[in-house]
Structures are given as structure tokens and as C-alpha cells.
Symmetry: C2
């Protein structure tokens, strides 16, 4: 064996390590890969414009910003940026610090930009001082500076020129948060990426390095809040034993601008407080919550507030005591108000005693309370009126409570979207919701404007996402579902962003800047949401999932004790047709929308076909716009969904040379599962509905691989997420 | 920013990656770190003696051996060994392949060594052929060759000279297996390192790369079997839906010589077979198991067999039908026999209807059956007669069933040893058990000789360990607890090994070859088991853990429905003294040992003090060998345990410069938890026992930080592992 010159030998070793790394990328680094930039022009540009970094200020936030820059720049530029830490004259430096800490000479060149930013916004601008070119990142707060640092790193990651850089950006929404439906035993309700990140048993003394990386990832996309615990809450989280653990997490998250929130179990005063009631108007109950809240703020001064699911699906709430949601929410709001906290009160309610169309119940119950909630209460509304389906029309509450801040609740975890094995790019769904027009103040009254507060001039705004994060090594169980976390954060920051642009950013940061790769994978992601709608719930079908776990199709389920838990309640298939009549001749749910929207949905000919069966019971022979009967069209949509997954597989397989082996293979295995399950959906649903339509499958639809009885016999007692 | 010569620049990049790696070692690679060898003499020796590798044979096992060599050699030697793959003349090659595939010229030089190996043993020998020095790794099977490959890699990892290498080694035990107490919902009974590795939902189509690394790690220490599922079994694992998933795992493990076993729920014929009974003598039941077993072997031809917990702690078994353990075990043994399978029938039984000392029950129930089991049945016996305590005398069954193969069951997971936050080096415990003398065939009839079959000339032998592995990134929740997996495997291979030597191997492979580090850390590990005994259960105390979860002390618990579930049953503290009288004047459990052993334990003066309270109820004023009273001695032992943890912390802290930052800090955090909990044990136990002794604490014992009532009020409803 030959012996090499020492440097060259080391070089070889390193290259081997490097190569091994390249083949074994487990996805842990998310979109913060900071890959070395091979393009020599860009290398030269970045190296010329950034000779060193100069933090201004010494907060913990500035320190983590510095750490991130050192990591990102050294990996992308292949040098040790730390060497140039500020003290070498003659260099082009990167300054970062908040406005109040900036030198006046620098600040004077940023006046115009600084005037444009609000809240935690930032400015990134190249300026000249004493004949040197500097880049300055600033904001009103150090958190704004940190956001700017991540933004600059993103410019490099996505291979953008930074010559004469001048970026001004501010979040359009105040509260941008993740909701973890994580239980204290580390199971995660509707979690499909392993188990909870929060290792409660070993907290507060063992700080998993993953907590830091979680905070980094969130800060990089502007997420500033996290509700650690399940909305189906356990009061124990509010005991000293657990608050000490929450405090430890809050300390890790604080430098990253990530506030901690907790879910408040309404009956906690009884369960852990020793009281006889949790009546929100009872003075002792009020006092208990005030004291408990003060106790929390004493150890976590920046505690965000409470997230509450009350009188919904068995959770306790004010109605247990003859009180209403206003009584409950305001009582908690009063407890957190002295500390600047908020209450997020969920509107996801439907009653076991109310036979009304479930889609109508949240609106009916909440809209009359408009104007009665405290200023620091946000009503958190799911994007649609049923429950996180592959497609739902926007929730009629949006725009209907002008005096109340409504907070959006999206689901990032794929309860009804194939768990974590189906590649579905959800920002496309979020965008569709945000772009929907409520017409509440005339045309253009989009849901985005409700949520960003501009439609009704709100003082406080928010977007929440039920996370898809677990302790799987790649966080989300599927490399591509990291994009849903990423895209959620980006849209929470600005609900007016284009989901395609977000996909491109993510692809470049996560996988590759190769143009062919970017274009093809962007298309694949972009199409993926419609694909899952096609093979699961075409034409406005909804909630036809198998019982309880919601894994796979279960349109035949009709024996559950509450009518609105049954798929048959939602599709109402019979010999005459299929779909839920929510028009004036049916449940009249359409009346909850603004007149323009109601008129559109009331009429089958003006109802978008994507929402057809959501609003109408439609004959199997109904002629679709493409000239086919509904039966044929539906069958072919199911087939199309399957075909589109095959296209995704072909696209992915053609990219093998551009992706590291580990991620390539893992995504490939998952796409194959998706295809198998898309076929399962197609076959099971068509066999079932065929019993009613009594029609043959149109040409082009593949024959089912099992009988209906076989599909119905499939059981998944240990499907995850329950 | 300066521009470097291209190579040098790349070198720098690589060094940064390297440095980042060095600081962020998450422990995933276990003892297979394959660190680059800095020592130039060794580099030179290894490079000279291994110019390339030459696989002989083309089995999957030989392929994975080749892959492992390429990985290990390239990382340790810093070159791309693949380049030299066998075809360059003039080189010293590393040949590896089974005897039957070796060239005769080579084989003729290995005759003596090959005659010494059995089963999956191996030879590693340097030979001369045609004036070239070659190293040959061979064995009777390709699996033996793979073991040899790992052994050679270990020689390099531990910086041993390989000049004139000549190693002959064979396993002394046939079945060397892990028992996973993993449930189908991925919770792990008594698991403290996250959740189950087995992602049943995504199997068989998604193969986590971790499955491969699990198999590699096991093969590297000679483990050749894994029971995937909890002994508290679920019959669903035997359904086609799950067997398909088991098949996929078996396929991953097969090249590594790792056979899959399943736990058989005795009532499966009823639960999944539709039969009305599970009576082992019922012809339909027999037939059902025969067919089920044939079905398993059809898809997994090398399936290992069944592990059974029957009529124990609520599990169904033959006694439900008036039959006995022999009837049950033999019925299953007959089902697997045609395929070469085995049945491991657990002896861990105690009856809720039997008021006898629990320590006596397994012996009483099983020893009379000696000679009645089929040849392919192993009786799996826990190391002690109670339940995996920090210290127990050896189980009296060892040596007492000369006609029956007894398999050792150790617990690697620390149910009673501080979960995964306490650093306890368990091979020290295993060694103590193996070295214990049963006197069944006179002095020297050690447990090791019972287990390796030499005492009673057994045809089949086995050792099982209940694993401490979960989906935590570092596998075992604590970097040092990886040593227990490692050490278990090594002692299963050869129960006569010295635990200190094993610790040294592990330290060198996992952390560092620095002599100071090795010596000090070896001492720390070696002392750690006695330390945990000192602060939890000194002088033979046992089972005084808090209820159910077994986290922390609970000597006061006395209200559980079954007497033998209560700590008070085991310590029997009263005003007169403390301890369980198992002598002739008490439960007479000592009579289950050979006369020499029984006599020793029957007499308080010949009973080793470490086992004192296991066998005797002892006055608080009893004079210990050191002259102290029992009370003072016990109190000082608790204090000593705490002091020793402080010593561990000091030792570890002094090693900071020799360990990567991530592992250093993580171990440091865990040692601090261990100290906190050691004090908790000391304070809670001494306060409780002081009620009975009514004596002051001796000088040197720190004052308790809480009152007894406060300790008793501590609750852990979500302690892991239940």
C-alpha cells in the first residue's frame, strides 16, 4: 500500500469521510443542510462580500445567531469563518445586531428600511462605511436579527446573488405556532413519525441536543411558539413536577424566540387543585387559575399562554357547569392578561346531542359570541368545518366574526392524508384555504386577510399547525414531509406567499440546486396534493376513512354510536347518487357563508366540481363538465390518482444520481407504499360505491386486487397515532 | 478572504467536517466507531500487513463481511481499501472465506487451527504463500468468517499488533440471544431508551437502515438470535399480516447470522385460530400449532423458534387446562422440531395462590420435571430467584436439573437499576453469577459450567439478555449502557471471560485508546455495579423499589394485593431487625441449594455479608465484620454509594479533553441525575428504616433533603417502561 504525502493523505481520509457522509444523509439536518457551494463564481462572490462576521450585542439570541452563521458559512464556504471574527481591518464584514445597538454611522444608511419593518421583521442591506462594503442585518429585536441571519443563510443556500443585497421583511402574523398533540407518556395523538420529542422522564436534568435543533429549525422559518402538549389535555402538566421540566425546555427555546404554551385541562382545578368544581364563574376556581398562572410565569416569564379544547369530544369545559365558551375563555384570559399571555380557545366542537349537520355546529355555537371575548383571546378554527380532510371548503367562521381574532388551525400531521408514508405537499392545501374568498367585505375578502388581521383590523393574529414531528431520525418520518413543516412556517409568517416558491426554496436548501432536479421535484410536490385527493376523496367526498385510526378507506363504516362519526353519514351513497346535500333543500349549511358564496354553493352548476359532493347529493348519472357521468368521472379520478403516484415514482427514480443514496432509497420505499395504498383506496372505494351505482367501471380503471369483503376485513389494531 | 491552494483548501473543508464530527458524536456507531488510527507505527504495521482484501465465496454473509472490512479499514487506515480488492499481485492480502471454499495451499497451513474450532468459531492466522504474507480468516461457516472479520477489526480498533496473528476462537454457548420486550404498539416493557426499533406499521415495505446497524452490532459480538416481541405476548404477531413483517426483518438479519424468534402466546389457538381451547393435549390445538409453525417456516426457513412465558403473572398457559409446563413446552417443541427449531420456556413463575416464599417457587415447580422435556426445549431461568435485583444469589435451579438444558436469562435493561440514567456496568454482575459455585458436582461446579453445558454435558446451550435497546439515537439512552449490550454479547459467547477485559475492549473501541482514559474509565465501570448496590440495596436487601414502575425507592409499600409484590414482604423490617429469614428457621429456601451452599447460607457467620439480608433477619445491633452495627454499616453503605457516584463524576469530568463534546456532556448530565437519585435512595431508605431501628445516623451520613412523608408522596404516573 502506498504512502501519500501527509497532507494529501489527510485529504483522502477527509474525502472518504465526506463521501461516506454524502451517501448516508439521514435527513436530520432538515433544510439546514448548508451544503458546500461548488459553484466557483458564487464561492468567489460570497467570499468577497463576507470576510468575517461581527455580532453586535451580547444577548443569548445574538450568540445563537453567531453560532448559526459560523456553522452555515463554514460548511457552505469551506472555511473557518470564526477566524475573521470582526477584528481584522480591511475586510468586508457582516454586522448583525438590533437597531438600538447599531453604530450611528451604520444606522443612518438603514433609516428607510428600518422604518418599514414591524415586530420581529428584519433588514439585510449592503452598505458602504469608510470605503468598505459591509452587509448589515438588523431589526427592532434580536429575534428579528436572528430571522435575518437565517434569511441570509437561505440566500446562500439557494444560490442567490447577494451583491447589493437589500431585503426588508416582517411577519404578517403575530403568533406562528406549532401544536404538539403529545401525551405525557410520549405517545403522540395523530403522530406518525415515532414518538414525542419531549423526554419528560429525563427532563429537566437531561437536555437532549435535539431540543436545540428543534428550536433552530423553527427559528429558521419564523415559528415563534410551541404548545408542548395534547389538546386532549392532562392536568399533570400544570403541577410543579412537570412545570420544572417545561421550564427547562423554555430555557432551551428562549434564545431562538420560541415561546412555550401549554394546553389547559379545564377540570384541572378539581384534578390537581383539590377544588370541588371547575365552574369558570366560581371565585375559588378563578383564584386557582390566577395563582397557577402566576406560578408558571414566575418560572417562565415569557410563557405564551393556554391552548384549550373544551366541551369537545369528551373534554371538560364550561358547559359542564351551565356556562358557555365566553365564560371559560375569559376566565383564563383574565389569569394570563397581567403577564401579557393569550388564550387560544378552539372552535372544534360538535355535540353528541345535536343532530344538526356537524359542519354547521362550530359556526352556530361561536358566531353569536362575536365581540364578547377578551382582547387576549383568539378563537382557533380548523381550516374546514369537518376535520382536516384532503380537501374541504374553507370554514364558514372565517370572516364571520369581525370583532374576534380568529386563528387558523392547520394540520401538518397527516391524520387523513396517508400518515407519514404518503408524499403530499401540504402548503398547496394551505394556500388554497388562504386564497379562498369569504366575500365578507366584498370580493377579495380572502381567508388570508382574515388571518393576517387586515380584513377587520385585528390587534392580534395567529396561525397554528398541528405538527408532524416525532422522534424519527428525520423528524417527520418521510424526508418530503419536512417540507410541510417548512412550508407551514413560511405561510404562517406570510399567508400570501406562493406555495410553489416555498417548495423551490425548500428543495434547494434540502436536496439540491441542480435546476433539472429543482424543476421536476417542484412539479412533483406541487401536484401531490391533488393526487391524494384523487385517490382518496375526489369531487368533494370526505371523511370516508376507516374508523378511529383513519388509516385507509372505510366508506362502509356505519355502525358507530354517534352518527357523525360514520363515513356513511358523510357520503350518503344510495341508488340515486352520492354526496351530502348542504343546500337550502338539505342541511342548509351553505347559509353560513356570505350570500355570494352561499349562492355559488347552493347551485350545483356553479359549485366547483372539486367541492361537488360536499354540498350536493348528486345522481350517478349527473353529467360532469368533461361530459362524463359522475360514476365514470369518479372512477377515473381514483385511477388518475394511482397513475399520478406512478408518475411520482418515475420522476423520483430518474433523480437517483442527484440525491444521496440513503434519502433516495428511503423516499423510494415510501413512494412504493404510497402506490400500494393509492390502489387500495381506489379499489376499496369503487367496489363499495359500485354496490349503489350498479354500474360497470369505465375503461381505463384497473381491476381490483381483492374483493370488497376482503377489504372490509382488513384490521389495523396497532395503527399509529391513536 | 484568502484563497488556498486547491488541495489544501479541500483539506481544510474536510478537516472542518472532521472536527464537527469529532464534536458531535451522537453515539449511534456504538463500539464500531472505527476511529482513524493516529499512531504511525501501527498505521505502518497495518498498512504493510493488509494491502488488500480478498473475499472467498459469494454468500450474502461474505458480502456483508466485505462491506464491513471496507468500512472499518478505510476509516481506521484512512485509505480506500476497495481499490486493492484482491487483484494486485505482489501484495499482502487479507483472505476471508469458509474452510470449504479455501484454496488447498492456504488450507494446508491452517489444519491445526481449523481442528480446534467448533460451530461458528473462526481462525485468524498470518501465513506465507508463494513468499507473500497473507492473513486468512476462516471458519466452518460463513457466519464464523464474519465473526472473525469483526474480531480482526477489533484487534485494530484496540491497537493490538497483528504481526504473526494467530487467533482461534469458538463460541462456548449455542444460542446467544436478545429478548426484546417490545409490544406491537412500539412501547417497550421495561424499556428506557425510547420506543421499539420495530416500526411494525411501515414494515414490510419500509426497511429502516437501523435494522441493518442493529444486525451489524449484534454480529460484531456474536449474538445470533433475537426474540422480537414481548414475553407478555400478543397473538397477533403470529397472523399473516405480521408474519410478513417478521419475514422482512429476518431477511435483513439473515446475512449477519441473526435468527428471529417470536414469543408464542399460549392462548393463540383461541385468539387467532378460532379454537375453543388451547389445551396442549387437545389434538386440534396440536394441529393448529403444527400448521402455524409450518406456515412460519415456509416464509422464514431459518426461524429460530418460540420463547414462552406461560402461567406467570397472568399469562395463559397449560395450567389453565389442568396440564403442566412439560405438556405445554413439549407440544410446542414437537411443532418446531421438524424444522430444527427450539422452545425456550421461562421458569419465571410464582403463584398468587401459593403463600410459599416466592424465591422458592420456580425451583419447586420445575425441578421435579427434570428429564421430561423434549431435547429441543431449553428452560430459561433468570439469574436470581426473585427478579433482576442489583444483587441476588444465584438461582438455585442452576445445577439442579442435570437432564435439562437451562438457559440463562439476564436483564440488560435496568428495570431495577436506575433505568437508563444510572451508569452501571452489568457484565460485572453477569460475571458474579457465572462464577458462583453451585457445588452440584463438587467444588468448581460454577454456573458458567451449567450454562456452557460442560457440567452436565448438554447438547444445546443458551444465554438470553432482555435488551436495553430502544429508538434513542444512542440505542441505550446512555452511552455507557452500550457497554452492557456489548458485554452481554461477549459473555454469551464465552461465560468465562473477565468483565474487566471486556470493559477495556469496549472503552478502546467506543471512546479512546488513550491509556490514562482506559485505565480510569475501566476502574469507574468496574466499580459502578457495587456502587449501585450500595446506594440502593446494600447487604442483600432486595425488591424495595417503588410500585409498578420500579423507579426509585419504595420500601414503605405494603398495600398491594399480592403479598410478594410488596417491598415490606422482602425487607421485613421491624424493631428487632431487618431481612428475610430463608434459613431452616425461616422459609428454608436455602435447602434448594447443594448442601455445601445451603450450609454456608444457613449460618449467619458464613453467609457473605453482601447477601446477609437475603437469607437472614438480622438485629439492628448485629456486629458486622468491620465492627460496626448493622444499622451503622447500612447507613454508611448508602452514604458510600453516594460518595462513589461523586467519584465517578470527578473521574468523568477529568476526562473532558479526551472525549468528544456531545458524549462528554450527555454522560455528564446523566451522572448528575445519578447522583441526585443516589441521594434520594439513601435518604428515603434510611428515613424509612430509621423508624424501626430508632437509631441515629452515624457520623458521615448526610442529612436527608426531604422528610419521609415527602419522599412517600412522590408519584411518577408516566415513568417509562410500563
Amino acid at each position: 500500500m502506498k504512502f501519500f504525502h501527509k497532507v494529501y493523505c489527510c485529504f483522502l481520509i477527509c474525502m472518504l469521510v465526506f463521501a461516506a457522509e454524502a451517501n448516508a444523509n439521514d435527513g436530520y439536518d432538515l433544510w439546514l443542510q448548508y451544503n458546500y457551494i461548488q459553484n466557483t463564481d458564487l464561492q468567489s462572490e460570497y467570499n468577497t462580500l463576507i470576510n468575517g462576521i461581527q455580532p453586535i450585542g451580547d444577548s443569548e439570541t445574538i450568540k445563537v445567531a453567531e453560532k448559526e452563521l459560523l456553522l452555515g458559512l463554514s460548511k457552505m464556504l469551506g472555511n473557518d469563518t470564526q477566524l475573521y471574527l470582526g477584528n481584522e481591518s480591511g475586510n468586508n464584514l457582516l454586522y448583525f445586531g438590533s437597531e438600538s445597538n447599531l453604530d450611528k454611522k451604520i444606522l443612518s444608511q438603514l433609516k428607510k428600511e428600518c422604518a418599514q419593518i414591524q415586530k420581529d421583521g428584519f433588514v439585510i442591506k449592503q452598505i458602504q462605511v469608510d470605503n468598505k462594503n459591509h452587509i448589515v442585518i438588523t431589526g427592532k429585536t434580536d429575534i428579528g436579527v436572528l430571522y435575518g441571519v437565517f434569511r441570509l443563510l437561505r440566500e446562500l443556500q439557494t444560490h442567490k446573488s447577494i451583491k447589493g443585497i437589500n431585503i426588508v421583511d416582517s411577519p404578517k402574523v403575530d403568533v406562528r405556532m406549532l401544536n404538539h398533540w403529545d401525551n405525557l407518556d410520549r405517545t403522540v395523538e395523530r403522530g406518525y413519525a415515532g414518538f414525542s420529542l419531549w423526554d419528560w422522564h429525563r427532563l429537566p436534568d437531561y437536555i437532549d441536543s435535539r431540543y436545540v435543533d428543534y428550536a433552530r429549525a423553527n427559528a429558521s422559518i419564523g415559528i415563534n411558539g410551541t404548545a408542548l402538549t395534547n389538546v386532549n389535555a392532562n392536568a399533570l402538566i400544570l403541577t410543579p413536577q412537570y412545570l420544572e421540566k417545561v421550564k427547562a425546555l423554555a430555557a432551551v427555546f428562549r434564545p431562538y424566540g420560541l415561546k412555550v404554551y401549554l394546553t389547559a385541562r379545564f377540570s384541572a382545578p378539581i384534578e390537581i387543585g383539590g377544588l370541588k368544581t371547575a365552574d369558570p364563574l366560581d371565585p375559588e376556581v378563578k383564584q386557582w387559575w390566577r395563582e397557577k398562572t402566576a406560578e408558571i410565569y414566575k418560572s417562565i416569564p415569557d410563557f405564551g399562554g393556554y391552548l384549550v379544547k373544551a366541551n369537545s369530544e369528551g373534554q371538560p369545559g364550561p358547559q359542564n357547569y351551565g356556562r358557555n365558551h365566553v365564560d371559560g375563555a375569559n376566565m383564563l384570559a383574565d389569569a394570563v392578561a397581567p403577564f401579557g399571555g393569550i388564550v387560544m380557545w378552539r372552535a372544534f366542537v360538535y355535540s353528541e346531542h345535536d343532530p344538526t349537520d356537524r359542519a354547521k355546529q362550530a359556526y352556530s355555537e361561536f358566531v353569536p359570541y362575536d365581540g364578547q371575548f377578551r382582547d387576549n383571546v383568539l378563537i382557533q378554527v380548523k381550516n374546514g368545518a369537518i376535520d382536516f380532510q384532503p380537501r374541504e371548503p374553507f370554514h364558514p367562521m372565517f370572516g364571520a366574526m369581525p370583532k374576534t381574532p380568529l386563528m387558523m388551525e392547520f394540520q401538518i400531521t397527516q391524520e387523513y392524508l396517508g400518515f407519514s408514508t404518503h408524499l403530499v405537499y401540504l402548503p398547496k392545501l394551505y394556500e388554497e384555504v388562504f386564497e379562498a374568498d369569504t366575500y365578507r367585505r366584498g370580493k377579495g375578502s380572502t381567508v388570508a386577510k382574515v388571518i393576517d388581521g387586515s380584513l377587520h383590523n385585528k390587534k392580534i393574529t395567529g396561525v397554528a399547525g398541528v405538527t408532524n414531528i416525532g422522534n424519527d431520525r428525520n423528524w417527520t418520518g418521510h424526508h418530503f414531509l419536512q417540507a410541510n413543516w417548512y412550508g407551514f412556517g413560511r405561510l404562517a409568517w406570510n399567508p400570501h406567499l406562493d406555495s410553489k416558491d416555498i417548495a423551490e426554496e425548500w428543495i434547494r436548501m434540502t436536496f439540491s440546486n441542480n435546476d433539472n432536479f429543482v424543476e421536476q421535484i417542484k412539479k412533483m410536490m406541487n401536484d401531490s396534493r391533488e393526487t391524494v385527493v384523487n385517490y382518496m376523496n375526489p369531487y368533494g367526498l370526505h371523511h370516508i376513512f376507516d374508523t378511529g385510526h383513519h388509516y385507509g378507506p372505510g366508506p362502509w363504516v356505519g355502525n358507530l354510536p354517534r352518527p357523525e362519526w360514520n363515513p356513511t353519514y358523510y357520503h350518503k351513497a344510495d341508488e340515486n347518487g352520492i354526496g351530502f346535500n348542504r343546500t337550502k333543500t338539505g342541511s342548509n349549511a351553505i347559509a353560513q357563508y356570505a350570500p355570494e358564496v352561499a349562492a355559488m354553493y347552493n347551485n350545483i352548476s356553479t359549485t366547483p366540481e372539486k367541492d361537488l359532493l360536499w354540498f350536493h347529493h348528486v345522481s350517478w348519472n349527473h353529467k360532469l363538465k368533461n361530459g362524463m357521468t359522475l360514476w365514470d368521472g369518479m372512477a377515473l379520478k381514483y385511477q388518475q390518482g394511482v397513475d399520478e403516484v406512478e408518475t411520482m415514482i418515475n420522476t423520483w427514480n430518474s433523480m437517483e444520481s442527484l440525491v444521496d443514496q440513503q434519502r433516495f432509497k428511503e423516499v423510494q420505499m415510501l413512494l412504493n407504499i404510497q402506490l400500494k395504498e393509492a390502489k387500495w383506496w381506489r379499489d376499496a372505494c369503487l367496489l363499495y360505491f359500485q354496490q349503489f351505482s350498479k354500474k360497470e367501471l369505465p375503461e381505463g380503471v384497473e381491476k381490483a386486487s381483492k374483493t370488497l369483503e376482503e377489504f372490509q376485513a382488513m384490521k389495523f389494531p396497532f395503527a399509529p397515532g391513536r
